[in-house]
Amino acid sequence: MRPSPAFLGLVLATGAFAGEAVKKITFEDDVVPIFRDNCLKCHNPDKLKGDLDLTSFGNTLKGGGSGAAVNAGDPDGSQLYKSIIHADEPTMPPNAKLSARDIGVIRDWIAGGLLQGRSSKAIAGLKPAVDLAIKAGAVGRPEGPPPMPGPLALDPVVRAARGTALTAVAASPWAPVVALAGPRQIVLHRTDDLEFLGVLPFPDGSPADVKFSRNGKLLIAGGGRGGKSGLVTVWDIATAERVITIGDQFDTVLAADLSADQQWIALGGPDRVLKIYNTKDGALEHRLKKHTDWVTALEFSPDGKVLASGDRNGGLVLWDAANGQEMFTLPGHKGAITAISWRGDAEMLVSASEDGTLKLWKARDGSALRSLNAHPGGVLAARFAPDDRIVSSGRDHKVQVWNTTGRNVATAAFKGELPNRVAFSDDGKRIICSDWHGRVLVFDAANGKAVGELTTPPPSAKVSALE
């Protein structure tokens, strides 16, 4: 019997509701969950339906296009309340009605004088715990030994009868470590002896995009629950601690990255807005409304100066990371952008698209260098090696290595179902590739031969090479 695939699992009991008998009804404890489930998809700062933003206490009190939404102590005189009990137009939510319990909570909150919180605690844990910014000149290879993960949890969060496709695969640039993202967790393996290292739990949903920081010391994950919530988390891999949690999206985050100087976090998702946060205090610095469809991929340049972002409509844009100014739009893709990867010297980047092409671009002027018909049917993933090579996978069920002149230099002996994510190991010698079933296969990047498979969890045993 083949070892069970990487993402298997048992679901831990989902967080139970907070204790009963909450006497004071407050915005933060009681109202926010109701708004989040029912209202915030439209009444958020990006969509701003009816000019009303219900994501924060302040903006809720400010009201919308038709004036104040809530009047303290007077539910029946509050437009918001009249809308949710369907006593007045517009009835809200548009196609449904809140449960009697939820309506009761909101009525009591208004009647109780619009309390913000039981104490003065912050709205959400958005503020970073530490200042991550790296001083100029220190970007790149860290001093000392390769940054390996410290002690990690060894029990997978999820253990199921069946695997599911991984949502992200990322390799450390300086250490033989690869991170595999699936529902509720990120699993770390060694890329040299393929050993299982441990688990970083992600109770917030599925991480859709995972990357190591340029110095290999941090792991960044953007993800969440589809249609419901999204955020970006950064771990210090030495301590397995979450050092930052940022973003408060109403759908999952699909793409995220941390700049090389660790000053900026960028994220994007189905709301089409590209956001850049400051890691110093977690403030949202730029809200960039340029993409006409879901933001599906983004990556900071290795020098941290440029941010590239792509969308589901084939749009590709380069931004000045520091001031959020648009530098170039890179036209040409006719299908969703599935991946963006920079070459180590920050001079060149590659974009992968469902239109079947890989396109190489010159970062300095945004000009197109080359377009490869890499995978007929669609390219699903692409990644630069530490050197000049690119690995890509696609709907033609192939995993291939290219050089920047467009020559196919190796083809992996991949025989699985739909390879959806690929990465190079830190030394550029191996390819790690996940497939639709959630299997993770390792190949020799020079000749394409199979090296082994990453399986979780084999508590002690190492997986022997397939050869």
Partner: protein, 807 residues
């Protein structure tokens, strides 16, 4: 309240003599349970002597032969062990036996994407045009409209955005499920509930790894919905419907809970998700049921409870009256009285010949005492040249005889040749099947064989296919070009299979640039846009014929289309003829027959079609039957029961006279001929050969441009510009003056009352009434020249509704 109660209690006995039970039916008539989770619900319907039906499923008693083989609970049979037995259904002293067969009762069937999952998206409304079925999807997720592309849907759900829509490790956390039950915010709201049948189907499919079907999976070949007809008496009376799908492997399945039901008249009969038809206001509705790519429909009538109704003893001239009366009795509608002679004469002249009766014709007819004078005048009119003109025009509309902007495409010369070809055939009474065969199989140079213009008018294979289906079969296929027809049974496979008959037409230019030579190219074909497969020709709603390479596919198509057993051709033609005489088709619009727009009286349409075949497609004979029927000769005046009816032919419909006929009538009664381009002085508008020819009057009154074969091209609805044109435009006033009729009559020494009488006869086809004569006296004082007043009267008559409408 109290008073009402007494009235009710006294009134009750009057109606309490319940009509006798006539028939009891069980649906389905046989039960096949195959595999472990199969089931079959049972519906029992009773029919009473007055035509009313009742759902008596709950009142009937049931006895299962061998209880060890199956379980009968909540009117549903489920399997226990293999074998054969029977279910005895008893109601009101009658017993019906339903054979029950149980097979593979221990076999757990694998879940099928096509047969289990796809119906969920249709039933829950996910793939409708307003939601994910929209051409660009909704909120980033697209499903094919009503599931025309199961492979594409499987791809989009499982592989388009890997990791987003499904989660095979934690199936219940799949976005697909979380959205559908509104666990995460969903614009479409809650489409199903956790744990219900639809949810469980999706979940089991995800738990099984979201598999695609093996290529050999059984496909639905037919959907049957029962009972075919229900007559519900009283508001809130209900009838449960039963939907059953038949598969290519010979199995069947109760799909009532998976079928999407839709009523075309919610006010009369609404239908629940569970397939329960509930009566509302008086009227009739067709319930369309959709399961996978199949659609079927049933008719449900709603009639008021305790409606006092006595069927009047009315004569039946022929089979037409029999069929119409049967439907009217069911609906408790009485037909209007027969119209008077003058009304009949004007109507039959307009309908058969497109002309008004001459003054003397009216006088002679009204004076005639013969009991068969109506039949005699019908025969006489059918022999007139004007009858031919009218039907040549009608066919020219169907065939879109019209010159194109580019003379090479379709020159005025070609249009004229085509029109003359048509005229020769209709004048010679060439049977319609032969004519259509000549058109479909036309080959050779179009100047020599003008029928070849059929392939010159439209060069696009797909449009040609659509036009042929619409003109000769009354089917609008257009929707199925891009997706399965939303309100009919047609799939893209049907569409492209049918188009393949027109896929091998060769066209090359003749010597004259305006001429085209049509050939059978014996190569080429039509490709399905999904998958790009070259389609083998398949008859619409029929089998795939074996066609030897090189055989003209059009010949095969023509053989099938005009065969007497073809279900479309004769019915379509009969309906087209019927609509001409009643202003409304039995299927209406006449070229839009579909599951959701069935014939209002199927028996009538069947009878007419059968007759047309029996008459060897001589439509004059059919028209003779129609015009002689009592139904055609009814008055337009409603009685107490039929005022609200406009679909069952219980009274004559008042129709505006169509553009060409109205213009010709104005010219004829005033004696002022019209000059129309391409026709000699005095030529009539119905004789226009080229669809491009028009004038202000004809355009205003909705003449067909013949740009499409659609019946909607002829616009019959009255509007303001028409009224203003008649009142103020030069059509009426100028013609009254130019014709000089009044002046001529005065010069001939006729007296005012004689002239008044003639004006009435010429325009309205009747004598002025005593009241009219008396009121008119005031306008004609002794000693004053009556010319102006007579012309004013003439003008007034031509502007009267009675003139502009056929009634």
């Amino acid at each position: 309240m109290l008073r009402g109660f007494f009235v009710f209690s006294f009134a009750l006995p009057l109606f309490a003599a319940a009509p006798a039970l006539k028939d009891v039916k069980v649906f389905p008539a046989d039960v096949n349970l195959r595999t472990r989770h199969d089931r079959q619900s049972i519906v029992v319907q009773a029919t009473y002597a007055d035509g009313v039906t009742r759902d008596v499923t709950a009142q009937a008693s049931y006895a299962l032969g061998q209880k060890s083989l199956a379980k009968f609970e909540k009117f549903t049979l489920t399997p226990i062990a293999d074998g054969q037995t029977e279910l005895r259904v008893k109601f009101s002293g009658r017993t019906l036996v339903v054979p029950v067969k149980v097979e593979q009762s221990q076999v757990e069937p694998p879940i099928s994407f096509l047969n289990d999952v796809m119906p969920v998206f249709t039933k829950a409304g996910c793939n409708t045009g307003g939601c994910h079925g929209a051409s660009r999807g909704k909120d980033g997720f697209h499903l094919s409209l009503f599931g025309y592309d199961p492979d594409g849907d499987h791809h989009r759900i499982t592989r388009e955005l890997i990791g987003r829509r499904i989660n095979l490790a934690l199936p219940e956390e799949s976005l697909l499920l979380e959205k559908s039950v509104n666990r995460v915010p969903h614009t479409g709201g809650e489409r199903m509930k956790p744990g219900d049948e639809l949810y469980r189907t999706l979940l089991s499919w995800l738990q099984a790894g979201a598999p695609k079907d093996p290529p050999a999976v059984a496909r639905v070949v037919r959907l049957e919905v029962q009972p075919a007809q229900s007559v519900l008496e009283g508001t809130d009376e209900a009838q449960q419907l039963s939907a059953r799908a038949f598969y290519s492997d010979g199995s069947d399945r109760d799909v009532t809970t998976l079928t999407a039901f839709m009523s075309n008249n919610d006010a009369a009969v609404k239908v629940t998700d569970a397939g329960r038809a509930i009566a509302g206001l008086r009227g009739e509705a067709f319930i369309t049921a959709r399961f996978e790519d199949q659609a079927a429909g049933v008719q449900v009538l709603s009639i008021p409870k305790n409606l006092p109704f006595t069927w009047p003893a009315v004569a039946e001239t022929n089979y037409i009256d029999t069929a119409v009366h049967a439907k009217l009795r069911q609906l408790r509608l009485a037909p209007s009285a027969v119209s008077d002679d003058a009304t009949f004469l004007r109507r039959v002249h307009l309908d058969i010949t497109g002309t008004l009766p001459a003054a003397d014709d009216v006088r002679t007819f009204l004076a005639d005492r013969s009991p068969t004078k109506r039949a005699a005048v019908i025969d006489e009119l059918l022999g007139r040249r004007e009858f031919t003109n009218l039907w040549v025009m009608r066919w020219a509309e169907l065939l879109q005889i019209r010159s194109a902007d580019q003379q090479v495409q379709m020159s005025a010369k070609s249009a004229l040749q085509y029109f003359e070809w048509l005229e020769e055939r209709i004048a010679a009474n060439v049977p319609a099947d032969q004519m259509v065969r000549q058109l479909l199989t036309a080959a050779g140079p179009s100047f020599e064989n003008p029928a070849a213009n059929f392939y010159k008018v439209e060069r696009d294979t797909l449009k040609l296919t659509e036009n042929a289906a619409q003109a000769f079969m009354g089917v609008r296929l257009q929707c199925a070009q891009c997706h399965n027809h939303p309100f009919d049974r047609w799939t893209m496979n049907d569409y492209y299979g049918f188009a393949a008959f027109f896929g091998q037409i060769g066209r090359k230019p003749g010597e004259d640039p305006r001429e085209t030579i049509i050939t059978n190219s014996a190569s080429g074909g039509v490709k399905h846009p999904v998958g790009g497969k070259d389609m083998a020709p398949k008859f619409l709603g029929g089998p795939k014929p074996e066609i030897a390479k090189g055989t003209d596919r059009r010949q095969v198509l023509a053989d099938w289309l005009v065969a007497p057993e073809n279900p479309w051709f004769a019915r379509n033609l009969a309906n087209l003829v019927w609509a001409h005489f009643f202003g409304k088709g039995i299927v209406d619009p006449i070229d839009d027959i579909r599951v959701s727009n069935p014939p209002s009286n199927p028996a009538l349409l069947d009878a007419l079609a059968a007759k047309l075949v029996a008459y060897r497609y001589d439509f004059r004979a059919l028209i003779r039957d129609i015009c002689n029927s009592r139904t055609y000769q009814l008055s337009a005046t409603a009685n107490a029961t039929n005022a609200g009816d406009d679909t069952n032919f219980s009274k004559s419909a008042v129709r505006r006279i169509r553009a060409e006929v109205l213009l010709d009538a104005l010219s004829a009664v005033t004696g002022a001929a019209e000059k129309i381009r391409g026709l000699p002085q005095g030529g009539r508008a119905v004789e226009i050969a080229d669809g491009r020819t028009s004038n202000y009057f004809l355009t205003t009154f909705g003449r067909a441009t013949r740009e499409t074969p659609c019946s909607c091209e002829v616009r019959m609805e009255p509007n303001l510009s028409q009224a203003l044109h008649l009142l103020n435009g030069d059509a009426v006033n100028a013609k009254v003056t130019a014709g000089g009729l009044v002046k001529k009559r005065l010069r001939d020494g006729q007296k005012t009352p004689e002239i008044i009488e003639e004006l009435y006869l010429r325009t309205l086809g009747r004598f002025p009434t005593a009241t009219e004569k008396e009121k008119l006296q005031a306008f004609f004082p002794e000693g004053k020249n009556p010319e102006t007043a007579l012309n004013d009267l003439f003008w007034s008559l031509l502007n009267a509704k009675e003139f502009v409408f056929n009634h």
